[in-house]
Each structure stands twice: as structure tokens, then as C-alpha cells.
């Protein structure tokens, strides 16, 4: 019969210690954050209401709601989405469907990785230099959205590439064999079969763009701007706008004597938007995975 020697016992003990040590480390990363999020919600709870979302900030941003920054963020996100999605999807189509393994694809992939790694404040400098000054757009929603679009492009490229690569080659071959051209195959077979994966990337782009502050600080976001409450078309493309992230920065560092709940409320709304949008992407991904036909 096998009896455990001292050595195996020692090894067992070692293994248990390692396991629980690593588990504690993992929990130490996650638990405090969950507590922090609950604390944020707790502090914000007195102010959170529908009115908070739909009223402009008043009295030097020391009172009122977050309507103007909320609408500004929606504008920035949607416009950057409109710019980044076609470029990102086509770039991924090129990388996955057309490009062969060559130095060019290597350079492109490297560029995508680097684009994702450029500090957000450098994107801000780029946006200021290229769009605001060189292109002469001026500080505006358009310039800020362009900056955000370029910054979030890698997110869309990466997830679209993954989605396209998941479509089996046999689908394409079948399509080519009935005489379809490359683009017809992509349009009729590849893209429809990967649409939910692409959508996941788009959703992640939204969450990234909604949370960024530095890139819009000098390209189009302002500290304060009053707009018509309840008017969804209150901003023009060349107007400057408020944004949730910028607003949180302003009221928590630049404005004295702000009531405590106000920045907490803004933080919770911003965090809520970003996390909900992300959760949507995750749910969508699980759905695709469980429904795969091939």
C-alpha cells in the first residue's frame, strides 16, 4: 500500500500554502475594489435621481445635475464611433482577409500595438497639433471625437480581427467556388457571420471613449457650458462641449466648496455607464460562444 512519507506530506503542505497564498493575492486585488465601488454608490446615493441626470449644473457647478456633461459625452462617443468603426473594421478585414504574412503586416500589427500604448496625454497633444491647429477645426466636438477615434481604433481592430478569424475558411472557400469575388465573399459571408463579434469590439470602444479625459481636455471639452435642458440636439459639431469625465475632474479638483455627494454622483454615473456598456459586451460574447453553429 502507498503510505505518505514525510516528503509527500511536506510537498502537500507546500502546495496548499501556495494555493491559498495565491488565492489571497487574487482576492486582495478584487475585493477592495468591490468595496470601493459600493462606497462610491453609498456616498452618491443621496443625490442620484432622474433629476440629477436631466438638470444642468448650476451655481458655479456646486449644485444641480449633470445634463450638459452627460449629453456631451454621448456626442463625443457617438461621433468617435462613427469615425472609428468603418476604419477599424476595414483595417481588420485587410489584416485578416487580404494581407499575407509579410513585413508590411508585421509593421501594421506593430503600429496597432503602439497606437494602443501611446499615453492618452500624447494623443491629446496630437489632437491639438493636428486637428485643432493644423487642420483648423478649432477646439470642438469634432476635433475631440477625431482624437478619441484614433485613440480607440486598436480596440475595434483587435476584436474585429478576432471575430473574422473565427469564421471557418471553409465558408470562404465555398463562396469562392460558386464564383464570388473576394469582396462579395467578405460582404455576404464573412461579415454577417462575424457581426456579433464586431459589435463586441464596437461596444468596448464606446466604453473606452466614454471614460477618457486627457485626450478631450485640450481638443474640445470645456469646464462649463450651459445648454438647453432636455434638448438632445443642443450641441453643434463645431461647438465645444462638457463631458462627464472632464466634469468629474473639474468638480473634484478645480472648484472649491462642492457638496460631497456631487462628485460622487458624477463618478457613479460615469462608472455605471462604462461598466454597463462593458457588461453588455461580455454578455454578447458569451451568447456568441454558446450559439456558434460551427
Amino acid at each position: 500500500m502507498f503510505t505518505s512519507t514525510k516528503n509527500t506530506q511536506r510537498k502537500k503542505r507546500q502546495e496548499l500554502i501556495a494555493k491559498y497564498l495565491l488565492m489571497t493575492m487574487t482576492l486582495l486585488i478584487i475585493l477592495p475594489l468591490i468595496l470601493i465601488i459600493f462606497y462610491l454608490i453609498y456616498q452618491a446615493s443621496p443625490i442620484l435621481s432622474v433629476d440629477f441626470l436631466l438638470k444642468n449644473p448650476i451655481r458655479g457647478m456646486r449644485d444641480g445635475g449633470i445634463w450638459a456633461p452627460l449629453l456631451g459625452t454621448i456626442y463625443l462617443v457617438l461621433i468617435s464611433l462613427l469615425i472609428a468603426t468603418p476604419i477599424g473594421v476595414f483595417a481588420a478585414v485587410y489584416l485578416n482577409e487580404y494581407a499575407r504574412e509579410s513585413w508590411l503586416t508585421r509593421v501594421i500589427n506593430l503600429a496597432v500595438v503602439n497606437l494602443a500604448g501611446v499615453p492618452s496625454i500624447v494623443h491629446a497633444l496630437f489632437g491639438l497639433g493636428a486637428f485643432v491647429l493644423f487642420a483648423g477645426i478649432g477646439r470642438s466636438i469634432l476635433a475631440a471625437s477625431l482624437t478619441l477615434a484614433i485613440m480607440t481604433l486598436p480596440v475595434i481592430i483587435a476584436s474585429t480581427k478576432e471575430a473574422l478569424a473565427a469564421v471557418p475558411v471553409a465558408f470562404r472557400q465555398a463562396c469562392w467556388n460558386v464564383g464570388a469575388t473576394r469582396w462579395q465573399t467578405i460582404r455576404e459571408v464573412v461579415l454577417p457571420n462575424s457581426i456579433s463579434g464586431i459589435l463586441t469590439g464596437v461596444i468596448l470602444q464606446v466604453s473606452r471613449a466614454a471614460g477618457e479625459t486627457a485626450p478631450i481636455m485640450f481638443t474640445g471639452a470645456v469646464f462649463y457650458k450651459a445648454i438647453q435642458e432636455g434638448d438632445l440636439l443642443a450641441y453643434g459639431l463645431l461647438d465645444q462641449c462638457m463631458a462627464l469625465s472632464m466634469h468629474l475632474f473639474t468638480i473634484s479638483t478645480q472648484v472649491p466648496d462642492v457638496p460631497v455627494a456631487l462628485p460622487y454622483g458624477t463618478a457613479v454615473v460615469l462608472l455605471g455607464v462604462v461598466l454597463l456598456v462593458n457588461a453588455l459586451a461580455i454578455v454578447l460574447r458569451f451568447k456568441i460562444r454558446s450559439r456558434k453553429k460551427w
Binding site: P154, E212, L248, F249
Partner: protein, 300 residues
Amino acid sequence: MRLRELVNSKELLKEWMIEKLIWICGISAIFFVFGIFFFVFREGADYLLRGFKVTEFFTSIEWYPTSRTQVRYGALALITGTFSVTLLAMFIAVPFGLGAAVFISEFCPPRLRESLKVIIELLAAIPSVVWGFIGLTIMNSLILNLFSAPIGLNVLNGGIILALMSVPIIVSIGEDALKAVPDSYREASLALGCTRWQMIFRVLVPAARNGLLAAVLLGVGRAVGETMAVLMATGHSIRIPGGVLEPVRTLTATIAAELGEAPVHSDHYQVLFIIGILLFSITFVVNLTADLVVRGIRRK
């Protein structure tokens, strides 16, 4: 017959145009990276070539961009600020991040693994301005109470916040690297009588070394480039910190704090763009190294 040829050629033309469009989008990323460098360089070039004192920039701690008597642009304190905060962040984030990566990939039951990965992904999505706000409020009062530190923000605060921000990247890339190690390695070492811990320490970690290194490098890249969180959580004192409870200012925070006030095309404004070039170069090198390291494993 002729009509058909016409239709065909029209189709072909359309196809050709779309393929060109796809190609342009495909290489656009290269243009954007060059564009970023070009336009940031362009704004700072004039001063860089005219009166920029490189030695002063890298060796002096005297950052007096708006001084009336003698303007000085010594960025040493800012560079040290960036590195001290990054170093502290990595000191916390690397052990915890890699530990969590090992736990999630090797010890975790599959159901729990999925949920942990989702949570880590959500953590990665928290906007940096919210992190900054957490540092400013919750973390600051915690540190003041726990360490009886002088009132105000400090390196420790920024370091912890940055660590929490870079942990998700380190965990997810580290976990990918561990997962890429073939199962036959695991089976072989277990068959030889290794415990799981021995297997991880002696077989998996050495095998996944490059991927783990890349994970750390990308964490460093994120920490160096982070702006809003350090702007809000590290204090605003431009000097070389003597300890973790002293305030600092980083390169990124300096740009964010001063660009709004510097008149366009003034020397001060151009020096801020030169700092941008420096940051771009640092992260470029870090990302390039990470990429080369990752390719290294793939080739194997």
C-alpha cells in the same frame, strides 16, 4: 454581350475601389502612429532646434516655466516623479498581478475562472479619472489615517492607484502566456511526481517567461503613460521625492496641468510638446520590446 462586359467591368471597378479602400484602412494605423509623432514633434520642433537646453532638461530639477526673471526647464524632478510612481506601482502590481495570473490559470476551478476573468476585465474598464477620484478621496484619507502622513497627496497614493490600474493588464496577459504553455509540459511534470506548485515554479514559469515579461512591460507602459489618475492623486510638488509619503509631479501630469495655461507656440508650450515626444519615445520602446519578446515565444 457588350452590355455584359460593361456590367462586368463596372463590378470589377467597384471591387477594385473597395479593395483599395480596405488597403488604405489597413495601413492607416501606420500613418496614425507616424502622424502622432510628426504632429507632436512639429509643435515642439521650433524650440527643440532653436534654444532647447538638453543638459538642463535632463539634469536640472528647476522647473520654472513661468518665472519672470529666469525661465528654466529642468525636467529631472518630473522624470524622477514618473519613475518613482511607476516603480512603486510595479513593486505592488507585479507580484500581485502574476500571482493572480497563476491562480486563475492553474488553481482555479473553471466556473470561478470565468467569473474572475470577467471581473478583471471590468476592472480594466474603470476610467482613469474615476481612479484619480478614488485616490483623491478614499485612498487619501485611508493613507492619512494608516500612516499618519502629512496632509496632502503623495507618491504612495499614486503608486497604489497605478498598481490597481495596471494589475488587470498584467493578469490577463500573464494568464494568456501561461495558457500558451502546452499541456504536455504539465502532464509530464505531474507524471514525474511534481506537486502543482513545483510544476508551476519549475516548469510553467520558465516556459512562459517571455509572455510574463511582456505582461510586466505592458503594465509599465500603462503606468508611465497614465495621466488623469496621477494628476489627481500624487500632489503637485515638483521635486525629487525623499520617501513614499511625499508629493511628486509626473511628466504626464505636468502636460495636463500646464498646457491649458501656456500660450500657444510660446516656449513653455513647446517644451510641453517636447515632454510629449519623450513620453512617446519611452512608451514606444517599451511596447516594441514587449512585442519583440512576445514574438520570441511564438516563433519557438
